[in-house]
Structures are given as structure tokens and as C-alpha cells.
């Protein structure tokens, strides 16, 4: 299937500073693609190129297989990290204006806006000025502005910042709904829990370069530590146990029992460990400890920084 977005050797230079260095990746259609990286890694530069706010110095971008062009603007939605609305304008009018700028007709813009007002239950806001809204309310309006034209490709820059947990969930559900209706989503975020919860693919940028890319599962596998955690009802007698546990996690007493962790050498299988554990004590749980994206992020970016 043609990827939603594909870049080839994308490079962007700002004076002396190289913002993007030879980026080649593709965003599969229907994916939730996480764009990660520390501040100043080049995320905003990349987003601005996809949005056609700026152009690359060299390299190409393809949208649904075609070279990215002005006709694609109406098919892309963008929620900027720096939120902004006209403070002294009415909410309804403002959304209509943004929708029409994206190329919707007056009638269509009106219908879509009304639809969103009903969906998010904010009908009474139509004639309010934005300055009368709370920050969270304004965020909702901003979110509507970025997806009002039903884009196939949605770029969300830190979509949950500024939302309380309740509204955060409402927005997450809306994002998932749009995704289930076929939209491809590009997430730019620092929040690794979001990545773990929502993303199917990730791209990690650091110092203008691509350092990690691929499906979430594949990336995780790459960073597997082969660490397994077992919880048993009674402590294990390690004098007699055939496996060497991790020094930090040896019969740690918890609510469910005693926790121990083991690193399994590549020559052996986890089932062998389970077999021995069952004989040593009543096994409550046994699971592989997968690296969190937070760990991966810190590990990769940290290493990258040390190397320089």
C-alpha cells in the first residue's frame, strides 16, 4: 500500500544550523505515527515541511505517492503545539473561517462546525469570545479547528498538553475515532506513555538525524533486555536454585508475594526457567520486562549525546 507520507533524503538548513539531516522514512497509511525527540531535534522543522509552511532545501516529500503540493493542504490537518486563536472573535465564526480557509464551502463548513459543537457538547460556546474560555476549552476549539475539514492526514503536536484527565480522554477518544475512520495520525510528543498507549510506529529524531524508526513492536524487540520477573508465594531458596537472579531483585517482598528477576541468556528459553520456578515455589506471575519507551528514549538520546 502507498504510504501516507514518504520522505527521501530530506534536508533543511537554517543558516549555520542544519535542522534536518538526510531524513528518509515513510508513514504507513492508517498508522498512528509517533514523532519523538528532545527539544530542538528538528520535529517542528519536519512538521512545517509536511504542512508546506516551509520547503526542504533538498530531498523530496510524497503525499499518497504524489510529490507534496498545494492541492494536499486541504487533506492535512494540523494542531500546532503553540496554540492560538483570535482572542476577540467568536468561537463559531472563527471555526467557520478556519474551515473555509481549508477550502470548505460555506454550507459545508457550517454543517461540520455544528456537528462538532454537538459532538463535544459545547453548543453554548458558539457566540462566546475566545478570551472568555478557559485554557482547556480553548484547546478543544483548537482541536476542532485542526480536524474540521476531515483530513486524511492529521498532525498533532502535543495534543494533550493543557487538558485535565477527563478532557484528555475525550480528545483521545476523538483521535481514535478519526483514526478508526481511516485517518493517518502523526503524533509529536514528549510523553512516552502516550506513545505506548497509542502509537503503532515511531520515529526518533536527535540532533537533526533519524536515530530510530519502525513499528513500535519492532523497536521494542530491538531493545529487549531479556529480563523476566517472577512473583512467588514463598521466597525462593537461591542457595539451591539453578538460576542466577539479578542482585537488585531477589525475593523482594510485595503485596502478592516475593519478586525476583532473571536475565535469560540467549542460549536458553524462558520456559526452562518457568519449569524450575514451579518446582521451587508457588508461582503467582511470570512476565518479560519490556523496556519502556522512556527508557529507550533516554538510552538512545543519552548515548548519542555522550558520543559527541
Amino acid at each position: 500500500m502507498t504510504p501516507s507520507i514518504e520522505t527521501r533524503n530530506l534536508t533543511k538548513q537554517y543558516g549555520q544550523h542544519r535542522a534536518l539531516d538526510n531524513l528518509s522514512f515513510s508513514i504507513p497509511k492508517g498508522s498512528v505515527y509517533g514523532l519523538l525527540g528532545p527539544n530542538g531535534a528538528g520535529k517542528t522543522s519536519l512538521i512545517r515541511i509536511i504542512n508546506q509552511i516551509t520547503g526542504p532545501d533538498s530531498g523530496e516529500v510524497f503525499f499518497e505517492g504524489q510529490p507534496l503540493g498545494p492541492s494536499h493542504i486541504a487533506r492535512i490537518g494540523y494542531l500546532p503545539e503553540e496554540r492560538g486563536l483570535y482572542k476577540k472573535s467568536k468561537v463559531g465564526e472563527q471555526l467557520l473561517y478556519f474551515a473555509r480557509l481549508k477550502g470548505l464551502s460555506q454550507e459545508e463548513a457550517l454543517a461540520r462546525t455544528k456537528d462538532w459543537f454537538i459532538r463535544l457538547d459545547i453548543k453554548e460556546w458558539w457566540n462566546k469570545n475566545v478570551e472568555e474560555l478557559s485554557k482547556g476549552m480553548a484547546q478543544k476549539v483548537q482541536f476542532i479547528a485542526s480536524v474540521i475539514h476531515n483530513p486524511e492526514f492529521i498532525i498533532l503536536d502535543e495534543p494533550f498538553s493543557g487538558f485535565d484527565p477527563v478532557n484528555s480522554n475525550i480528545i483521545r477518544d476523538e483521535i481514535l475515532r478519526l483514526h478508526s475512520e481511516g485517518a493517518t495520525i502523526l503524533f509529536s510528543t514528549h510523553r512516552m506513555d502516550t506513545v505506548e498507549e497509542l502509537c503503532s510506529h515511531i520515529l526518533l529524531l536527535d540532533k537533526s538525524k533519524m536515530v530510530l524508526e519502525g513499528p513500535v513492536k519492532q523497536v521494542r524487540d530491538e531493545f529487549k533486555t531479556h529480563l523476566f520477573v517472577a512473583v512467588t508465594k514463598a521466597p525462593i531458596d537461591f542457595e539451591k536454585f539453578p538460576w542466577e537472579p539479578n542482585a537488585e531483585c531477589m525475593n523482594l517482598e510485595g503485596q502478592d508475594g516475593y519478586k525476583s528477576s532473571f536475565r535469560i541468556p540467549e542460549t536458553r528459553q524462558s520456559n526452562e526457567l518457568v519449569f524450575d520456578l514451579i518446582q521451587a515455589a508457588d508461582l503467582v506471575s511470570f512476565a518479560e520486562e519490556l523496556p519502556s519507551f522512556h527508557d529507550i528514549f533516554v538510552q538512545v538520546v543519552g548515548k548519542n549525546n555522550l558520543a559527541l
Binding site: 543558516g15 493542504i73 473561517y97 478556519f98 480557509l101
Partner: protein
């Protein structure tokens, strides 16, 4: 294209619907009418009446003083001390005029007493009337009939005519000066008022980050153009409303005032009017007839061209400034070079008026940044047509040039946050853009 018209529409509507627009639209003509009517009204207004008691020792001037609306002369007799006492005890506006004896060629000793320093107006009227009377007496004693002198007193007036291929027509330098300066000043004001509105609106979009959404839908250049045209239409609307309302208010007020002044003239005529006033009135009449000689069509055409051209050129520059800065204080620094040519042109306009066909006038009216004001000042003086055409072509070139430059700055500046912009930085944008 349709996106630009959307932007124009929005920029226009949000401004026209503002309360401040409505207030300005109403207050403008009232202010204008007030400026026109107020001096005239002040002149016809009842002023405080000064009562001058004349104690004439010479016996030459009694009954010769002519009372006017503001000064009432009254002959008194008796000794000076008791009259002074009366002044001291009487009202504040009571004055005592004591005229001494006249002998031969000696001038009389004349004194005016009051509770405080008497008004200058009274002094000058007294001096004028006594001088006139003395002149008559002296003429008589020399054997000359004062009526004869009056009849041979010349009062010339120079009328100007402009020669051209189509023949000659009545000129009007005074009217030209007033019309030219007025038109130039209007353009100056309009550029400042609405140019800075553009700047503010660009700054608002930049600091509120709305621009991030906008530029993902439209090109920055389209955004800039849409704003400039939208605000220009607001200005034109306001201007048209002002013209219509000013006309209405002035006519109404004028009617009211004219009726009053008619009565005034009639009453004054019966009292006897000093001749200076008649002269001033005839000057005013002359100016009004001169105004009729100004080529209204040409003037209006030029006004529209320079009004729009100047505004468009400057507002592009103002937009560029607004895009580069993030605060008012920063804006001041970058506004300076933009405002200098326009301020300079209004300052230099007075020299241009004195010599409307000189080389200073020519160069300033060809240079695009000064031509909108300067050429407008010159047009009523009928500069050569080729100069007007050259100036207009230069203005169009200037507009295209500044818009192109401003567009470059705008495109980079509008998305540049958290960085204090310097001139070298802007130069870099221009080079790389």
C-alpha cells in the same frame, strides 16, 4: 484567490463591526464640521460688552465714536476724579477714556482707565477711531476734503490666471495651497492610521500564534496581501462615510449658521461696519471662487492613485515590521526607518508649496516613499503631466518593490519566535528568502 478574498472579508468585517469604527465614523464628521464652523460661530457669538465712558477735554471727539457690538461709547462730563471713582465702584467692564486738549500739531494725551488692564481690542478700536478723526481734522485744516481722499484711496487686488494650450483660466494660488496641503495631509494621516493597524494585526496573529494555523492553509504572502487589502477597504469605507456625513453635517450646520450671520450682517450694517471686515469678507469670497477653478476631476483622480498607492506601499512595510517583532517596544525600533520618509514628506511639504515647481519638489514627488504626499501637494499647482505620469509609474514600481521585500521578511518573520530580531538578521532573510 478565493482564500485571499476570505481573508479580505474577515479583516474587513471584524474592523467594520467594531464599536470604535462606528464611533470614529460619527465623530469624524462632527469634528470636521466643528473645525469648519467653530471659528465662524465664535466670531458671531455675543462677546462681553465693554462700556467706555469718554471724557473729552478737547471737544473734538465727542459723538464721533462709533459703538459696536462689543464696545459701547458714552460721553460723560464732569471732573476726572469722580469718574474714576465711578469706574472703581462700577462693573468690571466699565472703562474711562480721558482725552486731553489738542493744540496745533501736538497729539492729545489719551488715557484709558479700568479696574484691570483693558482689552487690546478696545485699545486698538479707540486708537483707530481717534486717528481717523484726527486725520479728517488735519485734512480739513489743510483745505482738503476728506471725502475726496476717501475716493482716491486705492485698493488693488492681484488676480492670477494660468495659461495653457486650451487658453487661459482663472488661477488660485491660495486655493491650490489649501487644497494641496489638505489632500497631502489626508494621505499622511491615512497611511499612519491604517498602516499601524496592519502592523498591530500582524503582531496580534504572530504573538497569539494563530498564524501557525493560517500559514498551514494559506501562503504567507496571500495572508499579507489579504490583510492589506481588507484594511484598505475599511479605510475607504470610513473615508467615504466621512465625506458623505461631513457634507451632510456641514450643510445642516452651515444653513443654521448662515441664517444667523445674515441677521448679524443686517444689524451690523445699520450700526455701521468698520471697513476691514468687509475686506476680509471679500477675500473669503475670492477664495471660494478660486476653489471653483481647481480641476476637481484631475485632483480626485490623483488623490485616489496616491492615496491607494501610498497606502499599499507603506502598509506592506508596516506588515513586514509587524511580522519581525514580538512586542510594541521592539516595533518602535523598526518603525522608525519606515516612518521617517512619510514624516519628512509632510514636513517638507511647506517648502514644496512655496516653490511647487522647483527641483526639491520634483525629486520628492518622483521618489515613491515621499511622492504620495508631495505630489498631492503639487497637483493643484498644475505640474507638467509627464511629471505626474513619471511619479505614478515610480509609485507602482515602489509598491511592487516594497511588497516583494516585505513579503520576504514577512514569510520568515511571522514564524520566528523567541528571538530578538536585528537589522543584520532581516538582511539575511532578504538574502536567503
Amino acid at each position: 484567490m478565493s482564500k485571499i478574498s476570505l481573508i479580505i472579508q474577515r479583516e474587513y468585517l471584524i474592523r467594520v463591526r467594531k464599536k470604535s469604527f462606528l464611533i470614529m465614523t460619527i465623530i469624524g464628521p462632527i469634528l470636521f464640521a466643528a473645525i469648519m464652523i467653530l471659528p465662524a460661530w465664535l466670531a458671531t457669538r455675543e462677546s462681553t460688552e465693554n462700556k467706555v465712558m469718554v471724557l473729552d477735554r478737547s471737544g473734538l471727539f465727542a459723538n464721533k465714536f462709533q459703538s459696536s457690538k462689543s464696545i459701547l461709547f458714552e460721553n460723560v462730563k464732569g471732573d476726572e476724579a469722580s469718574q474714576k471713582q465711578q469706574v472703581l465702584e462700577g462693573e468690571e467692564h466699565n472703562l474711562l477714556l480721558v482725552i486731553g486738549e489738542v493744540s496745533g500739531q501736538n497729539l492729545p494725551d489719551i488715557r484709558l482707565f479700568g479696574q484691570s488692564n483693558p482689552p487690546l481690542e478696545v485699545i486698538s478700536v479707540v486708537e483707530k477711531q481717534i486717528n481717523g478723526e484726527l486725520k479728517k481734522i488735519r485734512l480739513k485744516s489743510s483745505g482738503i476734503d476728506p471725502a475726496l481722499v476717501e475716493s482716491i484711496n486705492p485698493d488693488v487686488e492681484v488676480r492670477t490666471s494660468v495659461l495653457s494650450e486650451e487658453g487661459e483660466k482663472d488661477g488660485g494660488s491660495l486655493a491650490a495651497t489649501i487644497v494641496g496641503y489638505g489632500a497631502g495631509f489626508l494621505i499622511y494621516m491615512f497611511i499612519f492610521l491604517y498602516g499601524s493597524q496592519i502592523m498591530m494585526s500582524v503582531m496580534e496573529e504572530k504573538t497569539s500564534r494563530v498564524v501557525e494555523i493560517l500559514v498551514s492553509s494559506v501562503k504567507p504572502f496571500e495572508l499579507m496581501l489579504g490583510k492589506i487589502v481588507g484594511v484598505a477597504l475599511v479605510g475607504l469605507t470610513q473615508f467615504l462615510l466621512w465625506v458623505v456625513l461631513s457634507f451632510a453635517v456641514s450643510t445642516a450646520a452651515g444653513k443654521l449658521f448662515l441664517d444667523k450671520s445674515k441677521i448679524q450682517t443686517e444689524t451690523q450694517a445699520s450700526v455701521g461696519k468698520p471697513d476691514i471686515e468687509t475686506k476680509a469678507e471679500s477675500k473669503g469670497m475670492a477664495m471660494i471662487s478660486e476653489l471653483k477653478n481647481v480641476d476637481i476631476l484631475k485632483l480626485s483622480l490623483c488623490f485616489v492613485v496616491y492615496f491607494l498607492g501610498g497606502y499599499l506601499m507603506y502598509s506592506a512595510l508596516f506588515a513586514a515590521v509587524g511580522s519581525a517583532v514580538e512586542s510594541q517596544q521592539e516595533a518602535q525600533q523598526f518603525m522608525m526607518p519606515v516612518t521617517i520618509p512619510i514624516i519628512l514628506s509632510i514636513v517638507l511639504a511647506q517648502f514644496v508649496i512655496k516653490d511647487p515647481h522647483g527641483s526639491l519638489a520634483f525629486w520628492l514627488s518622483v521618489f515613491p516613499l515621499t511622492s504620495p504626499v508631495i505630489m498631492m501637494v503639487r497637483v493643484p499647482f498644475e505640474p507638467p503631466v509627464w511629471q505626474i505620469i513619471l511619479s505614478m509609474l515610480m509609485l507602482v514600481a515602489g509598491f511592487l518593490g516594497t511588497t516583494w521585500l516585505a513579503g520576504k521578511v514577512f514569510r520568515v518573520g511571522i514564524l520566528m519566535y523567541g528571538k530578538k530580531v536585528t537589522w543584520t538578521e532581516i538582511a539575511k532573510w532578504l538574502k536567503n528568502g
